[in-house]
């Protein structure tokens, strides 16, 4: 049973920030509510004030940044991203990630910003945005600030958003030349959250060596995490199957998964070990075509 609450539906960002500033920690922000309402229905989250930002249309957009990159408003629905013609070439991985996110009904109403702010380490967007080196913009009445995507989630369901702040925009830079990015997740039922998710972005250098690499894991730690030790195995080297396997091994020990109803810690580590080389290979194939 949901407890009674007072509901505000600001129409502009300024209105929303003013309300947030007024109610501070007593208010909870709801947008699509596809994650939050599940908890509220069970009485696990019961705020007195709810600031409903779903109709702040000024925060729903997909724009180019003029330099080959994308600026995505936090209130853009998953379905909009999934179907956007701008999600091609280096950004196709975002649309691919969205097609595997929950179900069409959820994607029609849920937003990418809401997903990130929920702070679920098993979420799909975070690992992909980390691999793409995205930046997240936040606003409050005091001004704006930005954080790299990989610094946004601090702990299970806790983000770097301070009281009074709203996530406003996701900035995805133009991928460097010869870069390929890929994402996959293992789940038991399609539309489930990731048991383990892996995103990899690889930039090829001279002689098809690995000039730069970013590997991000979902559902393998308290937050979406960059597998930096695994990256170090590959960075600057000529990529071989043996090296990829080693990166997978390193990533699986670097990860810090828990055991739960979906899978054991051991099984999650095994998934990391297998999926990191697999997705890295896919990223390389895409980099060669880019």
């Amino acid at each position: 049973m949901i407890k009674d609450f007072e509901h505000f539906a600001p129409k502009t960002l300024k209105e929303a920030l003013t309300l947030l500033d007024k109610y501070q920690d007593e208010a909870k922000v709801i947008c699509g509510g596809q994650s939050l309402l599940i908890l509220m229905r069970q009485g696990l989250v019961a705020p007195e004030y709810v600031i409903d930002i779903k109709s702040i249309s000024e925060l729903s957009y997909i724009k180019t940044d003029g330099k080959g990159g994308l600026k995505i408003g936090a209130l853009t629905t998953h379905r909009t991203i999934e179907k956007s013609s701008q999600m091609r070439d280096g950004f196709a991985v975002l649309a691919e990630m969205e097609t595997r996110l929950a179900s069409i009904q959820t994607r029609n109403w849920g937003t990418i910003g809401g997903n990130l702010c929920h702070g679920d380490p098993a979420g799909d967007p975070a690992p992909v945005l980390i691999a793409l080196n995205a930046t997240l913009k936040m606003a409050s009445l005091k001004g704006e600030r930005s954080l790299p995507a990989e610094d946004f989630t601090l702990d299970y369901f806790e983000t770097a958003l301070k009281t009074g702040e709203l996530l406003t925009e996701i900035i995805v830079p133009a991928p460097p030349a010869h870069t390929g990015t890929a994402y996959t997740k293992f789940n038991i039922i399609e539309s489930d959250l990731a048991t383990v998710g892996v995103a990899a972005s690889i930039t090829l250098g001279a002689g098809d060596s690995c000039q730069d690499i970013r590997i991000a894991l979902g559902a393998a730690a308290a937050t979406p995490m960059r597998a930096k030790k695994a990256e170090a195995v590959l960075k600057g080297k000529k990529i071989t199957d043996a090296l990829l396997a080693q990166a997978g091994e390193t990533a699986s020990t670097e990860a810090d998964p828990i055991s739960d109803m979906q899978a054991s810690e051991e099984y999650r580590r095994e998934l990391v070990k297998v999926l990191v080389p697999r997705i890295s290979k896919e990223a390389i194939a895409r980099a060669k075509k880019a």
């Binding site: 019961a46 299970y156 369901f157 308290a222 055991s259």
Partner: protein, 152 residues
């Protein structure tokens, strides 16, 4: 869920034992524990508050000593419920003391916690993630409390 921990204490085993036996010692080391009240010399009641992300829980619980084997072994059994009916839990904690050298004691504990209800189903992933943290905090709390009472 299993919460386990181990640490050493530089103190005579008898003193560590006596301290552990004091009503409410174990309970007061539980992270987020507020309001401890002794019901009798083996039982106490309390309230635990914890927060993970957007979920805050307040748990009312009762714990009793069921096995007391001086100066080595304690078993405490507890049960509780989340305020608001979001879930109930049962818990079994075993603490073993071992004298590893003169004046040096190894304290080992193992706590089995079982939770049912909405908190367990919907909060399962969130709760489980918290377990490791809780375990670490409990160990630190117990060690610090012991240090200040019985030595280093």
């Amino acid at each position: 869920m299993l919460i386990e921990g181990k640490f050493t204490m530089k103190a005579p085993i008898k003193e560590v034992w006596n301290f552990l036996l004091e009503p409410g010692t174990l309970a007061s080391c539980i992270p987020g524990a507020e309001k401890m009240e002794a019901v009798d010399d083996k039982t106490w009641e309390g309230v635990v508050k914890q927060k993970v992300g957007p979920i805050s829980v307040k748990l009312n619980f009762t714990q009793s000593l069921t096995e007391v084997d001086p100066p080595k072994h304690i078993k405490a059994v507890g049960r509780g419920a989340a305020v608001g009916g979001a879930g109930t839990f049962t818990q079994e904690t075993i603490v073993d003391l071992k004298e590893i050298a003169k004046g040096e004691v190894e304290v080992a504990y193992s706590s089995k916690v079982s939770m049912v209800g909405r908190l367990a189903t919907f909060g399962e992933r969130i709760m489980r993630a918290k377990v490791n943290k809780v375990g670490e905090e409990f160990t630190n709390n117990l060690r610090e409390k012991m240090k200040s009472r019985v030595g280093g």
